[in-house]
Symmetry: D2
Subunit: 223 residues, 4 copies
């Protein structure tokens, strides 16, 4: 990871969030990513990119960010309205199945993200260690066994597919965060402050930089 030569290598971190969708005016994933970058005080560089909720355009936005920042660590972040805590995703699957159209009006059903690509990719983050770091910091968190089949899963799958091909030493994964309180105000749904979600992202970054071999702790689901 450290190029030869006299210039000190600085670890590059990429955080991505999504633009608003489904009639919302904000997307807390992008707000949390912005706030996490502002709070970051480590020696590593934290770069950010906003990804469109658009099954086609999201690929280009992700590819551009990967090209530009050449990250050693990528945490893609999305909104999971209705979930009560931070979800550290375990696996991305090779299918788009959109319950609602994307922001461009496109609604793929049961289409592969990468034709002839593998059925799934596992996160290469230390997901158990991340959840442990969050809960010890008092932040509600758990491992999730599905990132859905919408643009979040799409970006997660595309990210892992690209990293494996182009940047095999880089780590990557996906994190879902709850609604922001203002989104949940008119619903009977759980929420989390953007500040706490940003602190969660920082803890996940730090853990992913520090923990080489994941903790051995049950985090599965019976079904």
């Amino acid at each position: 990871m450290r190029p030869a030569g006299s210039v000190a290598y600085v670890t590059s971190i990429l955080l991505t969030g999504f633009e608003p969708f489904d009639g919302e005016t904000v997307n807390p994933s992008w707000q949390a990513v912005l706030r996490a970058q502002a709070l970051w005080d480590g020696p590593e560089d934290v770069h950010i990119a906003e990804i469109p909720v658009d099954f086609e355009a999201c690929d280009r936005a992700l590819a551009d960010a990967l090209d530009r920042f050449r990250p050693d660590l990528v945490i893609a972040v999305g909104q999971a309205g209705g979930r009560p805590g931070i979800s550290v995703e375990r696996v991305a699957i090779n299918v788009d199945d959109a319950r609602i159209p994307d922001n461009a009006g496109f609604q793929p059903v049961d289409a592969p993200i990468v034709p002839d690509g593998p059925a799934a990719y596992f996160s290469t983050l230390p997901i158990k260690a991340c959840v442990e770091a969050l809960t010890q910091a008092g932040i509600p968190a758990s491992v999730s066994q599905t990132a859905g089949t919408y643009t979040c899963n799409h970006v997660f799958y595309r990210l892992m597919h690209t990293l494996q091909a182009d940047r095999p030493d880089a780590r990557g994964g996906f994190v879902h965060i709850p609604y922001a309180p203002e989104q949940a105000a008119a619903r009977d749904q759980p929420s989390m402050s953007v500040e706490l979600a940003a602190l969660a992202l920082l803890a996940i970054v730090r853990t992913s930089l520090d923990v080489a071999v994941d903790t051995r702790a049950p985090g599965g689901a019976l079904h």
Copy 2:
């Protein structure tokens, strides 16, 4: 409400929260009450009292606070672990039915709070206006049709019973708040930051001082 004489009358507000119970080390209702008092900048006096989770001792603690502060407005606050937002309670019922023992080890079952007391009291807060103020401020909130049958309902019932007898011009009601994030960290449960819960209490106080006749807005439940 304003006594004759030359001394300016200052409106007295009482906020109560509960001590921790059920193995918890904190109770966000008390934390939020403390924070709400600290944030208050109105001309009215905001007094606070911590109430034990104890079916007997809570009566004395409440009576002492009412005697001492002679409030014009009382907002009793409790923790509702598992609820996703602020619950403005509609009604207190005349029964103790404890699923777990209280902090003194007492577990009443189907016992009246006030023998021969009325079956229920309605909140005299403008509950719909409070919910509207909260949701407009971006704070998840709804009317709740039940405060349970534990010490929260007990204190709510006792409060309304006492106010009706002793301070009929005073307004009173009960508000349930979610787990704090640190409590929800090890569970898969919703939470709300204490800061946001405190802001919610301030909005409820302000609305209860300002709105004489409640808003006409549906806030019921089909079942």
Copy 3:
């Protein structure tokens, strides 16, 4: 309860269910009541009445059934879409607050059912013994602390108000049942077969006839 004279007195039982509402084509409460009557093989008479989902007309329908059948026991039944099991209701409150219009297009908000009536009535069924009988029979059931604020609570309140005035020796209460499977098919919601719901009603009838003093068992809610 037994009138003088040479004619043997037969205990009269009234079961009521509701007509469909909220766009549904069936209401499992009425289906279960029909089925329960068909299954009944006791010496007591089981009468049934279908109640309109109409805040005005339901009063007349209930009054007519009470006049006609002069019941010793009344179990009013309603649909609680979303609940996973049988709910034996504890309390009816004196308020109509309709989240959706009734079948006549009427949508009362925060209106008393009986002006100057008591704030609430408790069920006079042995609710804990009923829940115990159901769970021992393998039927999911629990005590519920709220029957909502729609026509179910309205009929429950009106029933208890009328019984107290006119038939003080009669027992009465309210039971909520889940969606039928066909209603839940297009939703991600729990359901219960009408057959099982009918068996539940029979067990509640039998328990209410047999158990004079309710079981002492915790069945409350923390909030």
Copy 4:
């Protein structure tokens, strides 16, 4: 699929269910499989096998059943306590992560099911057509994006891995069913009668035999 010669080929169907686990005395998946076999009246042969909730022994039990019955269609069935309807599973992932020990006391954490096996297999059932058939028959059902990480997912993964290698023309998939009512009786959890679950399995078998190309209908999840 039809061997040459004069003997008429009879399509072979295998349904598997699980033994009880986690302290339960029944497993509705096995009860439903038994009942489905009893109800089957098609010309095809329906074979059944009970699979242990044991990460090691389940592989042998599955392999034995596949060897013995040489099925053209396999529907593996498991219990998903807490889910409200039938879940037609989309994908099996290559990981065991047991939240509780299996019936042999073994609790694998983050271990691959097949070392160097693909990260996931998709069901080869027409999952959307199956869900459509169920909901049209009035049976609550949906596509599920995760079969968990316990023995259900394990058997599902192992089934698809084996079919791909040994019986590439055979179709296979996994179906989760809710608790039986008797299991949910002591919990506040959804349930489904075993009879209805058995009818659901028959509809899934029939649809899987009849529908070659799956219906194009959204059935995904936003997260």
